[in-house]
Amino acid sequence: MRSDLEMIDEWIQPNIRVLDLACGPGELLHHLIKNKQVNGYGLEIGPDDLNTCIKKGIPVLEQNIDEGLQNFDDQSFDLVLMTHALQQFRRPDLLIDEMLRIGKECIITFPNFGHWRSRLHLALKGRMPVSDFLPYNWYDTPNIHFFTFQDFERLCREKNIKILRWAAVDGQLKDHWWIRSMPNLFSETAIFHISR
């Protein structure tokens, strides 16, 4: 399992209802279903990822998140998850509202564009950063919104969203004291646990 997923795992209680938005091949859900006995569902639109989930016996629903989540009732899940996908949707702000409507709590992870290497890349080369973690060109990237650790914090503040806890990790998904002290500069992946 990816280690950002491992970190999230520690935050998740057993036997809860979980909705994983853009669950991909379902690594985290598979782990949570097997080890924490959660009642979990993933949403996905990639045919290969869907099939991988079906193969593993992970409940997965083909649903385009950009077309809305109205089919899920208010507070019908204990936890709504989204790992490394928020930057791919049309309106992340509205999506967060929806996630907090459906779930009592949410965990969101995203690539921090404020990382010093991104800043340096843009400052020195004058071109949009392409990294191992975000290996796309500006024109073909599925990541249509770039935002930073601070941007996300600020959005939460504006929306009166509670940040229950957060973590910031590097490319190896380790946390260090220097990342923790300056997450906007040093974290490559930001992890937020939020609620209303």
Binding site: R17, N39, Y41, P47, L50, N51, C53, I54, K55, K56, G57, I58, P59, V60, L61, E62, Q63, N71, F72, D73, S76
Partner: protein
């Protein structure tokens, strides 16, 4: 005729008949004192009888789902694309049962059968049967075949409704439910289409209030018309457009009511061909079974409440251009299952064929079905060991 039986075919199959003498109380209040069901099986039942798959047919389907009856058959069974060795419903792993439902016209007791109490054909007097009645009779067939629990029950369209009913009525008798291009109940528009189909049959002077065999007659016009209408609703606008466009029979308009456009010829042919293989009373019964199905009515319209009884896991599949049983209808079932906390997966398959897509071997559709059933088969194997 196939020159050689393809390697992935179940080959030559022989229908079998099961006779039931325990009366069956029907939803309509009447009782069938005895009846028979015709069925076919493909593959081998394992020792623990845990690898059985039941196929539920749709409006005009029957028990001949795969393989050939004779070497001179022009076509294999109606779902041969999905059932066979190595296919999505793999007969190397599963023991597959397909039957003709009660009220049918292909060998199971129905309007064309003899009513033992009168010695005459049932015809119009055959009671209206429902999805619930079918499922009850299918369970009795399973009893006869020594199957307590199905590994999977699979059906498309009206067949999917039977699968849904199974999951509610006999929750412990199936491990998994595969519901394709179906709905938890018909929409108003669907009922309306069915009513037009029925009226076209009933208003045919050759219908004789349903007793047409007795009157040496066949309501071919009405049944053909019903089928033409149905056929339009099974195809998508795009699929029809791609197939026929505005192709014409002649170089120029004839300004009469003969066939101008090829699509007219196609529909007439489809209508006529159908009357040669199908019984009008059965067609009407099947449309009524569709109309009446509404399991959520048991729980005040709350689908998720009635589905909370289910214990199996579910796979739902819909097709993008299906407007007779649109993806949104499958999603109603999916949402209710999620609400009830049931194990469910759902795939919305890109397809041009409309409702008919469920009968086509669309690669992604077959892959999803096969992936799901492969896991079910391996669960069965593990449990058996």
């Amino acid at each position: 005729m196939p020159d050689v039986i393809p390697a992935d075919s179940v080959g030559i199959v022989t229908p079998q008949i099961a006779q039931f003498d325990t009366p069956l109380a029907l939803s309509c209040g009447q009782t069938l004192s005895s009846y028979q069901l015709v069925y076919e099986t493909y593959g081998t039942l394992n020792k623990s009888a845990s690898n059985a798959v039941l196929i539920c047919h749709a409006l005009s389907g029957d028990h001949h789902a795969a393989g050939y009856h004779t070497l001179s058959d022009t076509k294999p069974g109606w779902w041969d694309t999905a059932i066979g060795p190595g296919k999505a419903i793999d007969t190397n792993k599963f023991f597959v049962i397909a039957l003709n439902n009660l009220g049918g016209c292909c060998g199971s007791t129905g309007p064309t059968s003899i009513n033992p109490e009168t010695g005459q054909r049932w015809e119009a007097s055959f009671p209206i049967v429902t999805v619930e009645d079918w499922v009850e009779s299918q369970a009795r067939l399973a009893d006869v075949l020594g199957i307590q629990t199905f590994a999977a029950i699979v059906g498309g369209s009206l067949g999917g409704m039977q699968v849904l009913e199974w999951s509610i009525r006999f929750p412990t008798r199936l491990k998994s439910a595969v519901i394709v291009a179906s709905a938890p109940k018909l929409s108003t528009q669907n009922i309306a289409f069915n009513e037009v189909a029925r009226q076209s049959i009933r208003r045919d002077p050759d219908f004789f209030d349903g007793n047409y065999i007795e009157n040496n007659s066949v309501p071919t016009n009405g049944l053909g018309l019903a089928r033409m209408l149905g056929h339009i609703t099974y195809l998508s606008d795009d699929a029809m457009g791609a197939k026929f466009g505005r192709q014409m029979r002649h170089d120029r308009y004839q300004y009469n009511y003969g066939i101008e456009f090829e699509v007219e010829s196609y529909l007439r042919y489809q209508g006529e061909a159908f009357t040669k293989r199908f019984d009008a009373n059965t067609y009407m019964l099947m449309t009524k079974a569709l109309d009446y199905f509404d399991p959520a009515s048991q729980t005040g319209g709350d689908l998720s409440a009635v589905l909370s009884r289910a214990q199996c896991e579910f796979l739902l599949v819909s097709f993008t251009t299906d407007w007779r049983f649109a993806p949104e209808r499958s999603e109603e079932i999916v949402n209710a299952l999620v609400k009830a906390g049931k194990l469910v997966s759902y795939a919305k398959i890109e397809a041009t064929e409309g409702h008919d897509a469920f009968l086509f071997p669309i690669p992604r559709y077959m892959a999803v079905l096969s992936t799901f059933l492969t896991r079910i088969a391996s669960n069965v194997t593990t449990e058996t060991k």
